[in-house]
Symmetry: C2
Subunit: 116 residues, 2 copies
DNA sequence: CAACAATATTCGAAATCTCTTATATAGTAA
DNA sequence: TTACTATATAAGAGATTTCGAATATTGTTG
């Protein structure tokens, strides 16, 4: 038996899966300030053309990016501003996380010094 | 050459990966209002004990949940409130997404009707 | 101690993901 | 048409994820 809750979780899981790769996160971040062509993305990220195209296909499949074809170029952009918002929260989370990790390392260091 | 940007993206990707499964999202959602024992989670989610334990291990490894052992039980809780915040944004994103999907379906439906 | 309860870990098979290489498609220009 | 540019897709190998079954660990109780 499948309910709305399950569908919602499935949806969220697929969304997270789509962003669960450094290259795809880099793509979305590059598109933060507006659209870029596939070629521009490839140049900025310094990755293989086929690889970039595959990652873009993943992001497209999950509706995280949309594309617009003009002449023989394809321009990509982030489909919804909330996606950028999620990444921003992640940055805050990362910083909070990092602070804690640094604090923990300092504490360990202190203990090490006392031991000597 | 590895820089902070890359580490940050790696970190974000691993975080997303950790949440990229319906069961793990369900776990975090169950822990939204406070800690629960592993047993309580298993009961609420209706999944295999070993499976739950494996998913909890993934969430632990990425510091998304923390645990506290008391007697012969283990109580889990979400480590950082920003994680809940991310899921909340996801809910908003989902709803925005759904509205668009419904709108699209209605539009298609309208076209279908006009055709007949 | 033995038996039990709660949870974690290991193992192996199936599914999924990621990368590189090769090829296909579509638009443009000569 | 042929050649070229930009992008997408297919195919296959290797890595990772996921699950259930079995087993291990740890704390409790009699």
């Amino acid at each position: 038996m499948i309910n709305t809750q399950d569908s919602l979780r499935q949806f969220k899981a697929e969304f997270f899966q789509a962003l669960a790769h450094p290259t795809r996160i880099a793509i979305v971040e590059q598109l933060r300030n507006g659209e870029l062509s596939a070629g521009a993305l490839i140049e900025r990220l310094g990755i293989e053309q086929a690889n970039a195209s595959q990652h873009l296909a993943v992001l497209r499949a999950k509706n995280i990016v949309i594309n617009r074809k003009t002449r023989n170029q394809v321009f990509y952009s982030v489909r919804h501003p909330l996606i950028i918002e999620v990444l921003d929260i992640m940055r805050r989370y990362f910083h909070a996380h990092m602070s804690e990790m640094v604090a923990t390392l300092k504490a360990i260091d202190k203990v090490e010094k006392i031991r000597k």
